[in-house]
Symmetry: C2
Subunit: 337 residues, 2 copies
């Protein structure tokens, strides 16, 4: 039942080279023999052995997708888009959900490297460490294959970055709030990585541009594991109870905004009349909340499309831009005026 190329060649009365040629539709084969061989192939249901082919060509046309957490709606969306795109171009995707710990991420990269994937994409700026030396695992990987960062910035030979200008986008969102009269914008975030810092910088920038001072008490950090909807709600209730005043909430992720809406409900604050809320990612969560969440669209679809284009280009030996930046956009729904 497990045919190989020799079996086919024998049955078709040709050499294995000829079989190989029709398989890789080389032009140097007569129409009659092609037909003859194809008939045998289809008759037997023969499929070439991927391992043997991989060994010979030193590639199995596979891309490694490294994802901190595939159950995050934003990353899940990216995953779906990347996988579909890559497969359509003839590449399969090896998935590795590493979590956010450095050691696990390193191990994930190592594993993909050992499997000789043709390239890999690191999903999210989570992958970039502040300490330059902590990124050695990326530099190392980039020596043996192209590495593409989704929403991360990292300058290194053979690594390519495709991202949204988070600072600009967050500045726009902050500015919208400020310009609609809000003066005390509570900022909720749960990451201090590159992207996280850029967002915060955008928040500050919008204030600075308008000559408004930022009250540092309005900056509220949640650790990844303490950021459930209810925990956010309770924290805000506590903050408000302690006298902290705010007339808007801006968050680095949509899910944190959901917590803010829970707070508003619990505290009896009308949204958006008494409290404006803006999220980030424009995820599928936005139309689900009540009222529906205004959010920053960071162009995930465009980013994913461009990642695939870039990867294929690089693998094809073309010259590709090392950094591509998309511009975010505020999508207004019901939590803003």
């Amino acid at each position: 039942m497990a045919m190989n190329i020799y079996d086919i060649s024998r049955r078709a009365g040709v050499s294995i080279a000829t079989v190989s040629r029709v398989l890789n539709n080389s032009p140097h084969v007569s129409e009659v023999t092609r037909k003859k061989v194809m008939a045998v192939i289809e008759g037997t249901g023969y499929v070439p052995n991927a391992f043997a082919r991989g060994l010979g060509l030193n590639t199995m046309k596979t891309i490694g997708l490294l994802c901190p957490d595939a159950s995050d709606p934003y990353l899940a969306q990216a995953l779906t888009s990347l996988e579909r795109n890559f497969r359509q171009k003839g590449y399969d995707c090896l998935l590795s959900c590493t979590g956010r710990e450095l050691a696990a991420r390193q191990q994930g990269v190592e594993l993909l490297k050992s499997r000789h994937v043709d390239g890999m994409v690191l999903m999210g700026s989570t992958f970039i460490e502040d300490a330059s030396q902590g990124n050695d695992y990326i530099r190392d990987a980039a020596r043996s294959m192209p590495v593409i960062l989704l929403n991360g910035a990292f300058s290194c030979e053979n690594v390519f970055c495709v991202l949204c200008d988070d600072q600009q986008a967050m500045a726009e969102a902050t500015g919208a709030l400020l310009d609609s009269g809000c003066r005390r914008i509570l900022y909720l975030y749960h990451s201090n990585n590159y992207s996280g810092r850029k967002k915060l910088a955008g928040y500050r920038e919008a204030h600075r541009e308008r000559g408004i001072e930022v009250d540092e008490k309005l900056l509220c950090f949640f650790s990844q594991d303490k950021s459930s909807v209810h925990q956010v709600r309770d924290t805000l209730l506590e903050l408000a109870g302690n006298g902290l005043e705010f007339d808007a909430v801006l968050t680095s992720e949509d899910i944190l905004s959901v917590g803010a809406l829970k707070y508003a409900r619990a505290a009896g604050k009308k949204v958006p009349e008494e409290l404006c809320v803006i999220g980030y990612n424009n995820s599928s969560l936005c139309p689900c909340t009540e009222p529906e969440l205004t959010s920053v669209d960071n162009k995930l679809q465009a980013i994913c499309d461009h990642i695939v284009t870039t990867m294929l280009g690089v693998l094809d030996g073309k010259e590709m831009p090392q950094k591509t930046v998309f511009t975010g956009e505020l999508v207004r729904r019901e939590t803003t005026m």
Copy 2:
């Protein structure tokens, strides 16, 4: 820089067989030579070539994950759990998001088969066709590797089913509604596959057990592409406008319940006082809605864990149960009395 086993053997002054032995830590190698070889291996950073190993062993320790849509929160959750579990056991996962069309699913299975994955898991009963012949692609795949169905039932040699008793679970949810006094439960669903039919059967069963007749007008089907939150809301508004009465909404997926809550808001119905709502999957959406959604937990975590156990057992040649059924459970939140 790209060492192979010959390079190592030469530098260590042993044969490639010995290198291979230390690599696969065979007991038949003296401690001194092992040390000697290990030293060379670590000194050179040599990593065995995965393709060659695959060719020799006829396996690359890979599981194929077929997923209709990784951006569905339920499937994304399953994906994360399966991948983490499998990788921990030494298996990498090849992802294939096929969408819901039969042809695409077949192609996905074919691709994974051609890549000689060690086994595959089909995520969701979407994969099972009503017409027996439509499932030939699964039977075919099962001839060359174990196939595991997540939440699907299909009787065939070498295919294993791990699922939740949807009928029982939906009957429990329906019963809870009925017993709390609801009499006209609108049922929203968007799939007629095996799982979908079982759920509907549960809805009917609970009525029958209580001697209550089902008004067929209360059964409301949404096609996959017409089931956005807003479309569901608008449909319910229209239904109610046409005089259809209902005092509860029960849905086959959480996202449809979100639409029902939108309807309640738009129609000015108080939840749960005037309208009870129950979803299905107990997904991460549930605590996000307002009020928070009561939903059926279909034990996804347990299912995923069991899938991995089963797969490893089968690959290890052990006898494994062909069908494992978990019992769902109603998780009460704020949309029910």
